[in-house]
């Protein structure tokens, strides 16, 4: 198929960017979206033009490094699918496709479609862990965890940190990302000890990074490749209020 691409090109963090037009022929429906960009870049190399920079690594939907806005939707037209797992069979001959970076104040653009998501790292560093140093662990089966709890903790822990939730949210809120970690750890007996301080410092960090507040539009859940539920956000608020009340 033949495609008309409008791709965001921007030199660096401080310069202005704009959409540039490209036409790409002979795209096969079996190709993944990123393989389509590879094909474009291959053609740009031949012409000696600077390639379109985009982030990606595993190309199997688990590392969370890929992610662009495709026709205004985070990770493209399919729900709950990373950009790397999107295939060209979702498009048709003659389509015009707008490709832009994930946009949020807390995600500065580095170049073209590459963004800086280290704000997520700092949220984790603020408390998204259990303080268990190497060598201190007791026998694993000494604390049974019922099947449902373990499964629920897994559901929250499955987040890949791609940032689609932020990109799709009209407030650029990182509530889904942050709450998934808060819930994962608060559900497990090992994580309960630090639950009170964790939720506060992670939420404070989230705010200070410039992410917006959650107004419960639930758009994030639709785009999340791991189908992380917005119930995590409710849980985070519950944990937060609990910690405030217990403080008093």
């Amino acid at each position: 198929m033949k495609l008309y691409l409008k791709i965001w090109r921007q030199e660096d963090r401080t310069s202005y960017g704009k959409l540039a037009d490209y036409t790409l022929d002979n795209v096969s429906e079996h190709m993944s979206f990123l393989e389509m960009l590879d094909m474009l870049n291959e053609a740009l190399v031949e012409k000696g033009e600077r390639v379109v920079e985009f982030d990606h690594d595993c190309r199997e939907g688990i590392c969370g490094q890929c992610g662009v806005m495709i026709n205004g939707r985070a990770h493209g037209p399919l729900s709950n699918t990373t950009t790397c797992q999107l295939h060209m069979r979702s498009f048709k001959d003659g389509d015009t496709i707008y490709i832009e970076p994930f946009r949020a104040t807390a995600f500065p653009i580095i170049r073209d479609l590459k963004i800086d998501r280290t704000s997520f790292d700092r949220i984790i560093a603020a408390g998204g862990f259990i303080s268990a140093s190497t060598g201190q662990a007791p026998e694993a089966n000494s604390i049974p965890i019922n099947h449902e709890t373990a499964e629920a903790a897994f559901d929250s822990a499955a987040c890949i940190g791609c940032g689609a939730c932020v990109a799709t949210c009209k407030n650029s809120s990182a509530a889904l990302f942050t709450s998934a970690k808060v819930a994962h750890l608060a559900l497990l007996p090992q994580g309960k000890e630090e639950a009170r301080t964790r939720v506060k410092s992670m939420m404070n960090q989230m705010d200070s990074e410039g992410f917006g507040h959650c107004t419960n539009t639930e758009a994030c859940e639709v785009e999340c490749p791991q189908e992380i539920s917005v119930l995590n956000i409710a849980r985070m608020n519950y944990e937060y209020n609990k910690s405030r009340i217990l403080e008093k």
Binding site: V45, T118, A137, A140, H147, A157, L188
Partner: protein, 635 residues
């Protein structure tokens, strides 16, 4: 080369080592700097553990955050001999399975230690909050993996690597917050700095600004993962590379088992020219899936239309006692044999069927969905096919490198002060790795071994003082890096780095892949030399010296073009078949690998001798005191 295996009985060696390892006084630890390149399971766990002890750690990765290291992609599980299932598992049995699985080409002492530390890793991970699968009573659950007859694999649905990695990433970030780890993501190590024979630092490139930086330390750890991406089409991530270890190799660190590359039997088949990746379908699927091809050659019917009696369950037929759970090397080779004989299925006739109809009939769809739901979903996302109603199509794909930097029992390379951990070292897996053993190895290296052996080395470094980045060795290394980058940018040919990468990959699949021959390897060596010459004439890298993915790729491909040649030499000089290394000249009448213990019971370790000079082969003899060398049979 001295492997430094401690004295004593096999079961006591590691305890002996630990009781005698030198310690560094807590007050002195903050005077010692350690560089850890890599934030996968091996790197993150090592960095976190050393920082917890009080050392200054600098941690590097090329991704935008440490949490994306390719360990994240491991699906199936991690082995540990907890014997929770009471099915006869023990440290010894796990040790034996691993040695046998590796076709008796690994060190007894290392493998024993791996098994010994395995139980502790599960404790560690659970304490960090890794949500492993649980039974209804609340206790941890297990499943079985290829090559063994007990159930010792712990798993977190199909995302075990991700969950383990998040555990160590979080431990790492805790130390970042505590100020004991400095994090350098989007940084690529481009050179190792050696001063007076010791590893003293690295030169790295900031992948955003393009800045070339100097970092010094008293010890350098490479935990940079495997180089299976050399085949281009593989189960690895796009950025996985051999550059860090290759550049260390050129600075004097030996490489061992270089051509021992595991080809995984169950990945999605190639379907077209532009494909960049072969996605793995976890081996755990083989617990319930049955592998078959049509008995008739070139059968074009849809798999569902082929009646039971016209299907050849070739693994069950050839290896009745292990059946679909035969080890990876054997399963992959058996698949290739059937495909080459014209029984392949799918559009390109390059696949075999992995069929769940029997399991679904017997256990119900719900049970199968609970065990493998995310894998079936992933299969559908990529292929558009619902595998609950028809077989998955799978084929072999390059996956894991048993080879890597040669290390001694302390995980130190032949350069003092340079350590290699995880998939980046050669080692515990011999000539073939058992499924679910490498997450384990990466974690054990980082959490439990390096935290003893690195301080043991550092104890001798207390008087060294800060390492100065103005040392002439840093000038020299930096100049070399700048020259290489400049040279690559200036070629101004017309072909992309990917073109060369793909060409090399195809060549290696054909001649240094699942099966190898003297003739093919000799051809490959010539062809790689020619391809390398073309690379330096015809490559083109547009753009500037800042964010430039073409430049990053070109540097990696330049290294692959040298490493690939060494792989072929390594395979050519090993006149036997063992594990993943199958030389067509050395096989039994029924097509099984023919090992030669008389002449090849050693590790091949290669020493770099300079540009265009042939590498020198060193042999580390493998001595087996505890196990008897046996023919590895899974029949």
């Amino acid at each position: 080369m001295n492997a430094k295996i401690p004295e004593g009985k096999l079961s006591e060696k590691w305890s002996n080592y630990k009781s005698h390892a030198k310690l560094v006084n807590p007050a002195n630890r903050k005077k010692l700097d350690i560089i850890v390149v890599g934030t996968g399971l091996a790197g993150a766990s090592c960095a976190a553990s050393l920082a917890e002890q009080g050392y200054n750690v600098k941690s590097f990765c090329f991704q935008d955050t440490p949490r994306r290291a390719h360990s994240v992609a491991a699906q199936g599980g991690v082995n540990a001999c907890k014997n929770y299932k009471n099915d006869g598992d023990s440290v010894y049995r796990m040790f034996y399975d691993t040695i046998k699985g590796g076709d008796f080409r690994s060190r007894e002492a290392n493998v024993y230690r791996l098994a010994e530390c395995s139980a502790n890793l599960i404790d560690q991970a659970v304490a960090q909050g890794v949500p492993f699968a649980r039974e209804y009573g609340g206790y941890l659950n297990n499943r079985s993996f290829g090559g063994v007859q007990v159930s010792r694999t712990f798993y977190a649905r199909g995302q075990t690597g991700q969950q383990l990695l998040l555990g160590s990433y979080q431990a790492l970030m805790r130390q970042v917050a505590a100020g004991r780890i400095q994090l350098f993501s989007r940084h690529e190590m481009l050179e190792l700095v050696v001063i007076d024979g010791k590893a003293r630092g690295i030169i790295s490139r900031d992948l955003e600004t393009g800045e070339i930086e100097r970092h010094s330390a008293h010890a350098v750890v490479l935990a940079t993962g495997g180089y299976g991406k050399i085949y281009y089409l593989s189960t690895l991530a796009m950025g996985c590379n051999g550059s860090a270890i290759w550049r260390a190799h050129k600075k004097g660190a030996y490489m061992a088992g270089v051509s021992w590359i595991q080809v995984h039997p169950t990945s999605l088949p190639q379907h077209g020219e532009h494909q960049s990746k072969l996605t793995l379908m976890s081996e755990s699927l083989r617990n319930d899936g049955r592998i078959w091809v049509p008995k008739k050659q070139n059968d074009t019917r849809h798999p569902n239309d082929i009646p039971e009696e016209e299907r050849d369950y070739y693994l069950e037929r050839r290896y009745p006692s292990f059946g679909n759970l035969a080890p990876r090397d054997i399963s992959s080779r058996a698949a290739k044999e059937r495909i080459d004989a014209g029984h392949g299925v799918g559009e390109m006739k390059n696949a075999v069927c992995l069929d769940f109809s029997k399991a679904i009939r017997e256990q119900g769809k719900d049970k199968i969905e609970e065990k493998y739901g995310n894998l079936f979903r992933m299969y559908e996302k990529i292929t558009g096919i619902n595998a609950y109603t028809e077989p998955m199509l799978i084929s072999p794909s390059a996956h894991f490198t048993m080879g890597g930097l040669w290390v001694d029992y302390e995980l130190m390379t032949t350069i003092p002060g340079l350590f290699a951990l995880g998939e980046a070292n050669f080692g515990d897996h011999g000539a073939n790795r058992l499924g679910a053993n490498s997450l384990l190895q990466a974690c054990v290296d980082g959490y439990f071994i390096a935290p003893y052996t690195i301080p043991n080395y550092l104890a001798g470094e207390l008087k060294t003082g800060k390492i100065d980045v103005k040392d002439p060795a840093f000038d020299f290394a930096e100049r070399k890096v700048r020259r290489q980058l400049g040279d690559l940018m200036h070629i101004q040919g017309h072909l992309s780095a990917d073109y060369f990468h793909k060409t090399l990959g195809k060549l290696l699949y054909d001649k240094c892949g699942l099966s190898r021959s003297k003739e093919g390897l000799e051809e490959a060596i010539k062809e790689i030399k020619m391809l390398r010459e073309r690379f330096y004439k015809e490559l083109r890298i547009p753009g500037d010296g800042k964010v430039n993915s073409e430049l990053e790729k070109a540097g990696r491909v330049a290294d692959y073009l040298e490493l690939g040649e060494l792989m072929c030499y390594d395979a050519l000089t090993r006149n036997e078949s063992c594990g993943a290394h199958f030389r067509e000249e050395y096989q039994t009448p029924d097509g099984e690998a023919l090992r030669d213990d008389q002449n090849f019971c050693f590790v091949s370790a290669w020493e770099y001798k300079g540009k265009d000079a042939e590498e020198e082969l060193h042999k580390e003899p493998l001595e087996f005191t505890e196990v008897e060398l046996a023919v590895r049979s899974y029949k």
